[in-house]
């Protein structure tokens, strides 16, 4: 098997680190070994922070609280109920995960600042409870935990260290598998743009609560292992500064890379120990060094390594105007829907009205769209065109009126369930996942097409890998189709504006929709690029069989492509008809097109 060099290097580094950690009992004396074990236990909690904050973008300041749940549950089970340590740790972690899951719910309605406060408060409460509930675990005095027993024998710290390394390695692997799957991409998509993520069919509630549960699970394991390692726990091990320490470790290492968790926790566990000689200056020096590192390494240590070690092959930005060829001729088989629609009317909108704070954004709008039709909505800025799209795609709810897709009443459906039913859209003001690669943006678009479960992803089953590979190819094909093939591995926010629009089209197509809503796809394209886009939209309808509802200001696009045109003005339907009729309509000319052709 031949790997590209970069992967070989990564493998070598991981193997070396793992080998050193596992072999450490052979060459480290007791105390340094304890520090190393502790660093690895911390690393597990930091991995959790990494997943919740770095990937899913949910600020969590209560990680130590979840670790406390895992730690105390383990200790109490082992001491009071004489449960095996090896069973107690996962049970404690599941308890922590359960609390994380529940805590995830209030965060659905709250903004990021409030989420951080909720998690902060949670961490405080847990510590206050264990401090004051003497009957539970001796309050502030803490409780002694017997050494973990393995096949009837109490383990020495040196032996337990190996177990910690093994568990950490497995958890690391699971985290990597999740991150590199549809679920991991959904986390990042939520971080980058909740709106766009919803539009791609990502269930926000599910993924936010899952992220918290996952992060808490890691914290819980970490707490349980800490109890076994220190053989003693008290509330001091889980106070708020510990939560902050975990976050700092994650940020220092590089919060959106898993390797960062290892590096950050290793550094911040070991550093204070090295400064032990300068006892009274220890905290000061640690803080000072940390400050310097954070100021000069905004992307963490892994970010620094990437910048200097990883060479980005220069992208050939040579796709000059008109020189691009759409190479993907048919919709990749992965994206073909099972049955073709039998209903003649694909989309029906009846008496749709919505107001925003007194402003009547849409009033009694009606439209019916046939399958395989290109229908355009035009009108002045502020006429309610994008509002109509938001209502159809489910991002806003109408005050009255109904919407049917392919015979199904979807008025009450959520945005992500509409995406599943076959509505995909682009956004007028662009809502890409900026920090993700161009390719991964398209892969998120296929979110609803990928069927692998969370567990399958974590275990990286062969079916899951095959599915991932298939859709990765599909995403590349779609990028070729829209002419962005050469940019696949760039970050999306690096693309020129017009290219970002094309990326939105590719991302929307990845869900194999029945109905594609394009919100001003031509804005930011020059004339020859516009020709390319028009050809693209024609082929989306003819080769892919996808109906297109289009908002556009570019008259050449609207008039040459559309079967019919609807004109909105101040939320009211001003006219509807064939393009040629609309162009001659005096009311449309007055409100929208203008008379003078200067």
């Amino acid at each position: 098997m031949k790997f590209p060099p970069r992967r070989q290097v990564t493998f070598a580094v991981i193997a070396l680190a793992l080998g050193l950690c596992a072999a450490a009992p052979l060459f480290l004396s007791n105390y340094p070994l304890f520090v190393l074990s502790l660093a690895i236990v911390n690393c597990i909690a930091v991995l959790g922070v990494n997943l919740v904050m770095g990937h899913a973008g949910q600020i969590s300041l209560g990680q130590a609280g979840f670790a406390a749940i895992g730690g105390y549950a383990t200790a109490l089970l082992v001491v009071n109920l004489e449960v095996s340590y090896w069973l107690a740790v996962p049970v404690g972690a599941l308890l922590a995960a359960g609390s994380g899951y529940i805590l995830g719910f209030p965060t659905l309605r709250l903004g990021p600042l409030y989420v951080s406060m909720v998690t902060f408060g949670f961490g405080l409460i847990v510590v206050i409870i264990v401090q004051n509930w003497y009957e539970l675990a001796n309050g502030p005095n803490g409780m002694v935990v017997p050494p973990p027993v393995f096949f009837g024998r109490e383990l020495f710290p040196r032996e337990f260290h190996i177990a910690i390394v093994a568990i950490a390695a497995v958890l690391f692997l699971l985290a990597r598998n999740i991150v590199d799957s549809k679920h991991g991409r959904a986390f990042v998509a939520i971080r980058e743009s909740e709106l766009a993520a919803r539009g791609m069919g990502v269930n926000l509630a599910h993924y936010k609560t899952t992220a918290f549960a996952l992060g808490s699970f890691y914290a819980g394991i970490s707490g349980g292992l800490f109890a076994g390692l220190a053989q003693f726990i008290n509330p001091d091990a889980f106070v708020f500064p510990v939560s902050i320490l975990y976050v700092t470790m994650a940020i220092l290492g590089g919060i959106n890379t898993l390797a960062g968790a290892a590096i950050g926790s290793a550094m911040l566990t070991v550093l204070p120990e090295l400064l032990r000689g300068a006892a009274e200056y220890k905290d000061f020096l640690t803080g000072f060094l940390l400050l310097l590192l954070l100021i000069f390494l905004p992307n963490g240590i892994v970010g620094l390594l990437r910048k200097h070690l990883v060479r980005v092959p220069p992208t050939k930005s040579g796709s000059s105007a008109g020189g691009r060829v759409a190479t993907c001729n048919v919709l990749p088989t992965t994206l073909q829907r099972r049955g073709r629609s039998e209903n003649a009317t694909l989309l029906r909108v009846e008496n749709l009205s919505v107001s925003f704070g007194g402003l009547k954004a849409l009033q009694n709008v009606n439209l019916a769209m046939r399958s395989d039709e290109i229908l355009s909505v035009i009108g002045p800025n502020g006429a309610g065109k994008t509002t109509l799209f938001n209502l159809i795609s489910g991002l806003n709810r109408p005050d009255s009126g109904r919407i049917w897709l392919d015979g199904t009443d979807i008025t009450g459906r959520t945005a992500h369930s509409r995406a599943r039913l076959g509505i995909a859209r682009t956004f007028q003001n662009l809502d890409l996942f900026g920090e993700m690669t161009v390719l991964d943006n398209v892969r998120v678009g296929a979110h609803t097409r990928l069927k692998s479960s969370f567990l399958q992803a974590a275990l990286r089953t062969s079916a899951e890998r095959a599915e991932e590979a298939r859709y990765c190819d599909t995403a590349r094909d779609l990028l070729q189709f829209v002419g962005l093939g050469p940019y696949a591995d760039q970050k999306a926010n690096r693309l020129a504006f017009g290219h970002q629009r094309l990326l939105e089209v590719a991302r929307a197509l990845a869900s194999a929709p029945k109905l594609l809503l394009l919100d001003e796809p031509a804005a930011g394209l020059n004339s020859s690029e516009l020709d390319f886009l028009m050809d693209l939209i024609r082929r989306i309808r003819e080769d892919f069989g996808i109906s297109v509802l289009l908002i556009g200001h570019t008259m050449r696009l609207v008039m040459m492509l559309s079967n019919r045109v609807i004109v909105l003005d101040h939320g009211v339907q001003l006219a509807e008809g064939l393009p040629a009729e609309i162009q001659k309509n005096s009311r449309v000319i007055e409100a929208y097109l203008g008379t003078d052709d200067a």
Partner: protein
């Protein structure tokens, strides 16, 4: 000469975005900068105002090198940019957005006067001065973005796609305003995808391709050039 770029090179990381770009804008003129997506137009204006850096100090404004001057000081020298996609302060009121444009100026009297001047150019902004910027329609937002740039009382105005996403009627209004501004003496460097309109408005044009100046010339000559028509303007 108001603005001069000589062999400007700019990079994003290791990727070269501009390669030996040279252009000049004479006082009182409208110059347009055209080209496909990814050609480097936005990078060029960002480099002029100091948001990106050229690798050599080769940008001059009124004869003075500005390649190493921080962006906020370049604004004070008399260069204002209307950024792509407007970049307004969405939760601030219209009037506050405008006043932010005058941030680098000291005189409150002059600011009042400019405010009146901008309300004269865009009467709708006066009507809606108490509204939040995000509540404006696309066209009004673009007017606000231009108004905000004018509040720094620039001598050179850089516009990055000022008609993006605007209805045809509004596009006409924006172009008419730019012409009016120019008649009042404003020097303008315009980036525009609507190449035909831009060529009609400007005297001189540059066409960027893959980070290099591929063509330049009087706008009338470029409009008449069949190669330009075919490669950049599309058949209309």
């Amino acid at each position: 000469m108001m603005l001069e770029l000589k062999n400007v090179n700019a990079y994003y990381g290791r990727i070269q975005a501009l390669q030996d770009v040279s252009l000049r804008v004479d006082e009182g003129k409208i110059v347009s900068l055209l080209g496909a997506n990814g050609a480097g137009k936005t990078t060029t204006v960002r480099t002029i105002v100091g948001l990106n850096r050229s690798t050599s100090n080769d940008i001059r404004f009124e004869g003075r090198p500005i390649g190493k001057i921080p962006p906020h000081k370049i604004v004070r020298l008399g260069v204002a940019m209307v950024p792509e996609r407007r970049e307004l302060f969405p939760d601030m009121k219209v009037i506050d957005n405008l006043e932010m444009g005058a941030y680098s100026r000291a005189s409150a009297v002059e600011m009042r006067r400019d405010l009146d001047w901008i309300y004269g150019l865009f009467p709708v902004l006066a009507e809606r001065r108490k509204n939040r910027a995000r509540a404006l329609s696309g066209g009004q937002q673009q007017m606000l973005a231009i108004g905000r740039a004018l509040m720094s009382h620039p001598r050179l105005l850089l516009l990055d796609e000022p008609t993006l996403g605007l209805a045809p009627l509004i596009v006409k209004q924006i172009f008419a305003t730019l012409r009016e501004l120019n008649q009042q003496g404003m020097t303008i460097l315009l980036i525009e995808q609507n190449a035909n309109q831009a060529l009609r408005l400007s005297e001189y044009s540059y066409i960027l391709e893959n980070g290099r100046i591929a063509l330049e010339g009087k706008s009338t000559a470029l409009s008449a050039n069949p190669t330009v028509q075919r490669s950049y303007l599309g058949a209309i």
